[in-house]
Symmetry: C2
Subunit: 534 residues, 2 copies
């Protein structure tokens, strides 16, 4: 029947070079080519089909995931793909799997927190997938507050072992991906106890299942925590629960790069600076910001295409109805999201630079920019993922009833994306960290300590408190300097107002708690400024 290509017509109107924009988006021509090649590889392979994903029962979906993960692994080896290509291929397979945790958390944890010896023992097996690992940190009762974890690892000097134990219901490990059905091993975070002393939370490599028949080892209770939001989506992942009943592991399975327990049970801290952890955090959060721009772009792309094809009302003399994209109500909701996708893309690229900068400084033992870099990435992680999650849902709404159908792609995109707001730092908790940093920066303004990096604007305190917006006509908003100053003045004034109100409390913690909703707003304003300025 009708086969008018409305998209061709819309694309013809573009005032920029489409091919060049693709490359700008990808970061480089080479990135674009890899991305394009991997996309075609996945799209043309029937094993990677996604169209039936939402129809499957949980069990069949899980089997489908195992099949895809194995097939991806096979293709990566057959085609001798580079690490970059392999990463891209997996991202186009686009189905959360235990492999994400094995490659993305288990191996990096051993690499980052393990000793040379531990690397030699565990990494080769992990690289060949002779063992499959997950990252068992979060507990039923403890997410954001990592220091509150209850699982214990008690050193037994008699046998030179740690005894891993779950003392309470709330201490059950809960959420780790790959744990429910697949993993043979886990990096388990537990309170280290030597003698009667609690040394806080440390990582331990624990075998969970037999390498012969995959059954749980004695003392270990393990299982899947059940269905999550949506159909398809994250249900391809075996998020799991795990309980230990006095499970014994050799002493050398504590990850000992930063702290050690000696044969005698003595707790020793190495001289490896603990700040190194923050370097990794900056890296992980940079990838999250980049991923946010991709998820947002997918949603905006679907909603924009739909808006060009969909017509409703406004037919004159029996002619076609008005394209939905021509309605101002649609534009005023859709176009800011389109702009945000690009903004997040560019701020993600800038974060790559920041990571390089921080890494170089860390190698030179310069920790001076770390607090600012940490606050900046925490804030951007929070802001971009919150905006993206809400924006995907807004794009779904912009597709009217059709956005509610799984085949629009939006329901799964939403359901699979939203955990990003919770993992790697709950978005509200992160913003409160940013707020603390802002209050500290404000409090030091008088002391002559110059604010650096993304807080440099606070150095122009007097100007920002007094300046008035010069906009008189709509066109004035087209000057980037006007927008930037508006965002700076807003962020700064909000921070100053919070600081002023905080100073009225005799106990600063009471003040912080009482004013936290305002502090959140100030932190958001600061993060919005960062995005605008990059």
């Amino acid at each position: 029947m009708e086969a008018l290509d409305y998209h061709a017509e819309e694309r013809r109107k573009a005032e920029f070079d489409l091919e060049e924009m693709k490359i700008v988006w990808a970061g480089s021509r080479q990135n674009y080519e890899i991305s394009d090649r991997m996309a075609r590889l996945v799209a043309s392979d029937p094993v990677f089909r996604k169209d039936n994903r939402t129809m499957l029962s949980r069990k069949d979906l899980f089997k489908d995931t195992l099949r895809k993960a194995a097939h991806a692994w096979k293709r990566i080896i057959e085609l001798r793909l580079s690490e970059e290509e392999a990463h891209m291929l997996r991202s186009y397979v686009d189905q959360p799997a235990f492999t994400d945790l094995h490659w993305g958390m288990f191996i990096p944890a051993i690499k980052g927190q393990g000793t040379e010896e531990q690397h030699e023992k565990w990494l080769p097996m992990a690289y060949k997938m002779q063992i499959i690992g997950c990252y068992a940190q979060t507990e039923l009762g403890h997410g954001s507050n990592v220091q509150g974890l209850e699982t214990t690892a008690t050193f037994d000097p008699q046998t030179d072992e740690f005894v891993i134990h779950s003392p309470t219901l709330t201490s059950s490990k809960w959420w780790p991906g790959g744990l429910g059905k697949v993993s043979t091993h886990a990096v388990v975070y537990a309170r280290l106890i030597t003698g009667a002393q609690d040394h806080g939370v440390h990582g331990f490599i624990v075998q969970l299942r037999s390498l012969d028949d995959h059954s749980p080892l004695p003392g270990i209770t393990v299982g899947d925590i059940g269905m999550k939001f949506g159909s398809g989506a994250y249900n391809s992942m075996d998020n799991g629960l795990l309980r230990f009943d006095h499970v014994r592991i050799p002493r050398n399975q504590m990850l000992m790069r930063v702290s050690q327990v000696t044969r005698e049970g003595k707790f020793v801290q190495s001289d490896v600076p603990r700040q190194l952890v923050y370097g990794t955090m900056v890296y992980v959060r940079q990838t999250i910001v980049s991923d946010a721009s991709c998820a947002l772009a997918r949603a905006v792309c679907i909603a924009t295409r739909y808006s060009a094809v969909r017509r409703q009302f406004g037919s004159q003399n029996g002619g076609p109805e008005t394209q939905v994209i021509d309605y101002k109500t649609q534009q005023s909701r859709l176009f800011p999201l389109l702009a945000s996708a690009y903004a997040f893309r560019f701020v993600g690229e800038w974060l790559k630079w920041l990571y390089t900068d921080v890494t170089q400084r860390l190698q030179a033992s310069d920790f001076s920019t770390l607090p600012e870099a940490h606050a900046c990435t925490a804030g951007l992680k929070s802001m971009t993922t919150s905006v993206t999650a809400d924006a995907i849902e807004e794009c779904r709404k912009l597709c009217g009833g059709h956005g509610y159908l799984s085949n629009s792609g939006l329901p799964e995109l939403f359901a699979v994306y939203i955990p990003t707001c919770t993992y790697e730092g709950d978005n509200v908790v992160l913003l409160l960290q940013v707020a603390r940093f802002l209050m500290k920066t404000v409090s030091q303004l008088g002391s002559g300590k110059k604010p650096v990096g993304t807080t440099a604007y606070m150095g122009r305190a007097e100007h920002l408190m007094q300046c008035r917006c010069e906009v008189e006509r709509a066109e004035d908003w087209l000057k980037p300097s006007v927008i930037l100053e508006a965002f700076e003045a807003r962020a700064f004034r909000m921070s100053i107002a919070c600081a002023k109100n905080l100073s009225k409390f005799s106990n600063p913690e009471d003040g912080f708690s009482e004013l936290s909703p305002d502090l959140l707003e100030a932190a958001i304003a600061h993060c919005q400024l960062i995005v605008v300025s990059k």
Copy 2:
């Protein structure tokens, strides 16, 4: 293990009578008792279990729905439940099913738009479920713009039949619940053509499937449109697609209460006032507003209970951590939603009164309050459902990672609720209708025509344009009159600003289109005022 009942402790602190509040919420003691009885009936019946719903494949979920619908029907007959009790029982079964459309749309359409003869012929079969019907209005290309429907019903005077036909791809019926797999009949909305004349959209009773073997009748293509948002949720419903290839039905299957086609093919309008349709609309939207309060209350209830049990950070000297409900950041997001649930409950009750009032006036042929009642219900439908949809998601976020698990109840609640923003009038389209009504009301202010009902405040134009908010201290906000005046002044000033800007356009339609984002805001402000004032 730990079994502290944090809820008991929180409930003990309530400063109101819990039992009385239950009755206030239910509307009356009798309502409460019916509701409570039906809830227990459903909860104790294993056929009605919901805990495995999200795990099922689409096919098994659908079978489960058929089983539940049949069982509910059986119980309703066995227990001789009243219509009210039966309705309540079905709402606790809480699983969208073809029966919703059969009882809620198919039968009412015949009742409302059919003649006495048609009632006698069709209703008894429908009541006994010897036939099962759905409501086939929306098409692939036509949702909000009902007048744009493309399906045709062409009268053939030779055979005294209508020929129902789908002339284009976009004319395919798309979305009707109950259509995909179950319905034997449908009320089909199609353009009535007699001779060469198009008389616009009318309803027709069309048999779709054989009553012997349930196969589609000749000329009919029918099927399910596939998965929708979420697991479980609305996927228990067989939303369908339907195409007609010159399907013939007898003339007497056009619903002829308001318009008729004679044996000779003459189109005749009866003297039944068309405004009666609006009475039904007021009724349907009133139920939607009541349902919004229920959905919101469920979400808020889950999030509040979670917030009381969940503890994170703030442990002092090894004591328990802080209950999440004690954080201001949690309170500032949760409590307004809690308040909204009550507000929507009370505005829903007020809408019942409005419906009675409108009905009585219609019976006395007084159509004077209809435009205002129509704008008011359209606006409240839009506002309460949009707020509720977003609030369910906000409640999910307030439960941190745990809200992402299906067993929190929130993912399904969200997925099953959100279509409410689209059906019975897309929320944006409805707000634009409200905005049109507001602009009309403003334009008549000078003419001496007094604004009525929910627009009565506009009669105090001068005061509202000049008044200044008297709040000086936080406590001043506790005066309802202060809040009410603030909402009135805001809504009125926004309307006036829009009207002023509209007047600058030579073509009012161009202005309306150009200013539609502002008009939406003004409409929302007006609707918020209605909720505050009730």
